[in-house]
């Protein structure tokens, strides 16, 4: 991975285009990032991507921004983090600046509304695709603990609407407790 102008441009343009398509909440950027940095560019592996997302989720601030900072830092240090941050904040800055000027006509515009309604279906499909892939990996690992954490966390988030940061902290604490103390003796890893 040579760090030349082309590398930094790819980093910036990836962050910019991912942010421009993050419609419907910050988590949407995660599947898009995974597709770009894990599958397409192969700069980060699947496991690390999930680690980075977990950490971004536990820090304050928009998750899309935090995840971009972590990916940028992982790939090219502080300069990389700076580049991905700028790439991530520019699309909302440009789009909202434009829209706030023509807001009244935008709100009533049938074509704009139809476009967004249609794109939402695409967003849902992209998330479903990534969830299938990631949950398959966890189930295939045949690790009962991981599968249990996944199911419990899903119930906690969807049915009980427990704060995401709390779910992250509890599952991390459980992981630390289980893998470091309960499983210490016996087989390795």
């Amino acid at each position: 991975m040579g760090k030349n102008i082309k590398f930094y441009w790819t980093l910036f343009s990836s962050a910019f285009s991912l942010s421009a398509f993050t419609i419907g909440g910050g988590y949407v950027i995660v599947p898009l990032m995974r597709k770009k940095f894990v599958e397409e560019l192969k700069w980060i592996d699947d496991e690390e991507m999930l680690n980075l997302v977990a950490i971004s989720q536990s820090a304050p601030g928009p998750i899309a921004v935090n995840a971009s900072i972590m990916v940028g830092y992982r790939l090219a240090g502080v300069l990389g983090a700076f580049i991905t941050t700028v790439g991530t904040v520019l699309p909302p800055l440009i789009i909202i600046t434009a829209i706030s000027k023509f807001y009244a006509s935008f709100k009533e515009n049938r074509v704009a509304n139809a476009l967004l309604l249609g794109m939402r279906a695409g967003v849902a499909a992209v998330i479903i695709d990534v969830i299938i892939k990631m949950s398959k990996d966890i189930i295939k690992s045949k690790n009962i603990i991981s599968v249990t954490i996944m199911i419990v966390a899903l119930i906690a988030a969807v049915i009980f609407e427990i704060n995401a940061a709390l779910i992250i902290i509890l599952s991390g604490a459980f992981g630390a407790f289980y893998y470091n103390y309960l499983k210490k003796e016996g087989e390795h890893k």
Partner: protein, 190 residues
């Protein structure tokens, strides 16, 4: 000084919105409506509508919207910088420690516990988007759904898109642009 006020307000919004998504909403409301009176209630409602329709985190959308209104383009830029500054500092510190210590077995244990939970959090975000997609009106409880509330065109689009994504591994942005165009053709013209 107005720029400093904007910076400090959005710095606080960035710093205290933990948990993502709509966690930032009450903070934005407090800063923008109560502390500073930069927006009216109607403008705040417009901001929410715009945020739902446009890309980007709501805190960043609010930064630009409020910044532009209070002090033009430079206001928007300063609000945005204020909003991401806490993230930059805190996440960089966390990144530093993560990459330094990620191979320690105790840290590995934590991460091994975290990963399945993150998959579920992404799934729960996916479920909310899916609900918004397949129902025409906002569904508050599953008990009173009518058949006419279900958006069949969207369900078909989602199903076909998932199939294409799984089978051909194409760029998801292309899929989103594609469903957007189909959206214009089906919802916009009739």
């Amino acid at each position: 000084m107005i720029y400093l006020d904007i910076f400090i307000s959005f710095f606080q919004i960035g710093l205290f919105s933990i948990g993502g998504g709509y966690a930032a909403l009450p903070l934005i409301e407090n800063q923008v409506l109560e502390v500073h009176k930069w927006l009216t209630i109607e403008e705040f409602a417009d901001l929410l509508t715009i945020s739902q329709m446009t890309p980007g985190p709501i805190a960043l959308n609010a930064s630009t919207f409020v910044g532009t209104k209070v002090a033009g383009l430079s206001g928007a830029v300063i609000a945005t910088i204020g909003c991401v500054t806490p993230s930059c500092i805190i996440v960089l510190i966390l990144s530093y420690f993560y990459f330094k210590y990620k191979n320690l077995s105790s840290v590995q244990g934590i991460l091994k516990g975290l990963r399945p939970a993150v998959v579920s959090l992404i799934a729960s975000a996916g479920i909310s988007v899916l609900m918004l997609t397949i129902f025409k009106t906002e569904v508050t409880s599953l008990a009173n759904i009518k058949l006419s509330d279900i958006n069949f065109i969207s369900i078909i689009m989602v199903a076909i898109s998932v199939f294409i994504l799984r089978k051909y591994k194409i760029n998801p942005i292309k899929v989103m642009v594609g469903t957007g165009i189909i959206g214009i053709l089906t919802y916009g013209l009739f």
